[in-house]
Symmetry: D2
Subunit: 288 residues, 4 copies
């Protein structure tokens, strides 16, 4: 997702200095006019805003806090904006390290899909104080259309955990409802239309599934394996917060069970197929 | 819900012959021009279409199959349309009894709220063959705006079970997500807005809860007690169909636990308050 | 189970008048000296104690309350002892019908296996008042070694529901623990021995499973299908009592899922194999 | 638990060199003849076997792997025996560090209670190769009566996770069964006796609960908070192993919910009281 986001920034007039372990991606950005940095340190030095977009918590901590990492090289007056989806405790550790060195920090995880990022229509969940937000807002405007301020640094990451817990658990609920309905003899078109016209309507069934698994497409937009990790972030947060999530726990266990199978690497909308498999029925597909 | 529905029928030119144990309701319909029947038998005799709208399966079976009930009195060429929300096996028994006597039958449970019924904007889930559907369609058009054909007789009841299972389980998922987010320090407005702009969007949080519990209104539109009964219909159907619903079962248990408390008679959107109570936090409310 | 129980009664000097739809079973008892009755009515008339042992609630209600059933033919001073495992509400209905006619009633479901019944070593859970208990005690002594008084009529059935809920849910817990341990590389012998020597010890793993599934024997002593029905009795009782059973609900869903597969007709100790199948591992077996 | 264990060692002729942050405990052992070490390094140097017994994974890693810790000071031919209950991945890291330096290592977590440790009746779950096991066996014999070899280093920790997952989940099952039975009107004595005489029998109800919560004693032998952490070890192991534990997940969520309340610091047998509180009933107690 970093490539379309930075492409938008470069195209809209920001002067990028990019670094990635994948040289091909750097070349694509260089073709748009970006400068290729030689290292993390080289990319960080001299920047007004350093943007990190990395797979998981350990990567962010290594890149930011590591020996010759961002914090060791960033300019005194610069802002660090982490857009990765990571554990909020990791975000807090990075935020504290920035605060200790007087570096402004904001966490801005991204809430929509790659296709939105390509169109510059991403959604951002921003944890930042006001002055830092004002400094990164032009970049966010260049990459997305929905900017949600969620509170102080760290609250962007927390909002992302809640958002994904909600949508992933709803996905499994839809899978169970449709599997039962299919076994009761209802057509998928009927179930889609009726539930779409009541308060049963939801983005997982009526936006995600109708465009993915219900068309027979389970190529991974977001794998069950990654979804399990996001569910785990929520369950860990619940444990830390001393709050029981009985339905969330049941859904987490289903994702956990799906990971024991070939479903691990499929799109998480394939939860429907997993439910149908366990029920011994053919999964429903929308008529073309 | 029977009163606003029959009021619409009478107002739009249908000639009603009504019977209800509550004389007051019959008077209201008589004021609109309906004839007050003296008994179930009197209401059934001579009608083109007999409409039943009753609380639960035993009422429907008693009224339709009872000694001096509908089937004992209905005209040979008439249609029986049951609009109650009942167990699909009950619907099947009624349908079979009608078939044995050559009476056309359709099940048409209603999928929206009283306020929609008042405006003639109800949604119907129709189990019927084509000729029977054609005969009742003018009545449905007079009462609602969304007519969904779900298959043969009995499939309307099945669709209703799935629809309510889906929306009720999603409601509990929303309750857990918001309780956790609140404990993590997120504002309810932020959670509403962010989840509303991603595929986490759903009718329970963004239509129901924002208008009920999140405004502090838990007066019952649909009580947790009734919601539990609908969840039980789904769990029973799952048992009959030999399909495990792990997340549904967890949600059913939560509704079951809520019924042990004062929450039993509150609106089911109060699942949020129940989750917050268990978590030891004040439930969030939207700012006015 | 009725055959070994009545065989013990006949052998130990009670004078039986037996009726069964299966003539072969009546012949076996006749060979021991029992009289073969021509009908339910014939079996009931003139008896001091009428014992019923039937598969499920509807059979008991039909045999006892039916037109030419037990209650229509039983002597005024006789006792009805129902030893079937049925829904406690069914027991209550039978008990009320007896009370209305002045017939003494007791429910005595059986808590061990066929092999115990054969040896006259059954366990009984008795719901009865004192005089009725005194009258049936000699029969219970002839059939079993453990007699537990559980309270008034109906409490025997309730105790049976709790007992089976507890043991069936523990069985699934054992299945999950062993499946996880197996995946972690632990030997089944090690797991059996260690857990058997701590408070993790339990009759499902250390008595049932070591003698059934862990020896590769999943021939049905008690099928998953029947186990599901017993779990359903508990979940229904929980619903009536307004009590949420989150772990029970999860276990009920697992039994429900197992019923969708070939496991339906296997011994319920095969829950272990079901858990291993879902985990993608070979189920452990004890070395001979 | 370290104090009674080392007291037994010293009393039975082993020559201890002890270190603890709590000077009082060292004094108690010195009174039995042990030498008080000045530091971890001082305790490790010159020993044949170094025994660690610490609260959690980070403590073990700090004490063993830290700058002036055990590995930096242990003799070349010595054995490190860790008896702490920790995450198996932590055990593996310590085992690897030992292997790299040629130090023999064994993990031997303890499976019974403080009262057993005091009597020298502990149970051990040993992960070790044969030569290492032979060297520590005399110490284990001095401290306990049940020694279970579980496999290579690391398997002791894994066995402990399984053992505690099993007993803790069974405890919650018992809590639900007894809460439901109580609400159905059954006496606790009846439930204890009947379930104790069938395969529903288990160490949680029939050994733990009858001696703790059912006597009104919920002073912590093992708190719900600690129990939650052990459940979390199992759930994390399940996640790593890609195995879904639906009933375990539900139980984990119950422990998680109990931690949000005053129950956090009570003995985990108080799960029964937690279940009864949610059900709105007084928890049962055995008659004196």
């Amino acid at each position: 997702m970093g490539l379309p986001m930075s492409s938008n920034l470069q195209r809209k007039g920001f002067d990028l200095n990019v670094f990635d372990l994948d040289a091909g991606r750097m070349d694509q950005l260089a073709a748009l006019g970006a400068r290729k940095a030689a290292s993390i340190a080289d990319a960080a030095r001299g920047a007004d805003v350093v943007v990190t977009m990395l797979p998981a918590t350990p990567h962010v901590e290594a890149v930011v806090l590591g020996a010759d990492g961002v914090l060791a090289n960033i300019d005194a007056g610069a802002v660090l904006m982490d857009m990765s989806t990571i554990d909020a405790n990791g975000t807090d550790r990075v935020a504290r390290a920035c605060a200790e060195r007087g570096i402004a920090f904001t966490d801005c995880p991204v809430g929509r899909l790659v296709l939105h990022a390509e169109r510059g229509e991403s959604l951002f969940m921003v944890g930042a104080d006001d002055p830092t937000f004002d400094r990164v807002k032009p970049l966010l405007d260049a990459m997305g259309t929905a900017i949600h301020r969620c509170g102080a640094p760290g609250m962007g990451s927390r909002m992302k955990v809640i958002n994904n817990f909600l949508l992933l658990t709803v996905a499994e609920v839809c899978a169970e409802a449709i599997a039962l309905g299919t076994k009761l003899g209802l057509d998928i078109e009927t179930m889609r239309d009726v539930t779409g016209a009541t308060t049963a309507q939801n983005g997982q069934l009526h936006t995600l599934m109708v465009n993915k698994v219900l068309k027979g497409d389970v190529t991974p937009g977001f794998t069950i394996d990654l979804a399990f990790k996001d569910m785990s972030l929520a369950m860990t947060a619940a444990a830390e917060q001393r709050i029981g999530l009985p339905v969330g726990a049941a859904a987490h266990a289903v994702f956990g069970g799906a990971r024991a199978t070939d479903f691990a690497t499929k799109d998480y909308s394939a939860l429907l197929d997993f439910a149908c498999e366990r029920a011994g029925i053919a999964p429903p597909r929308l008529k073309a």
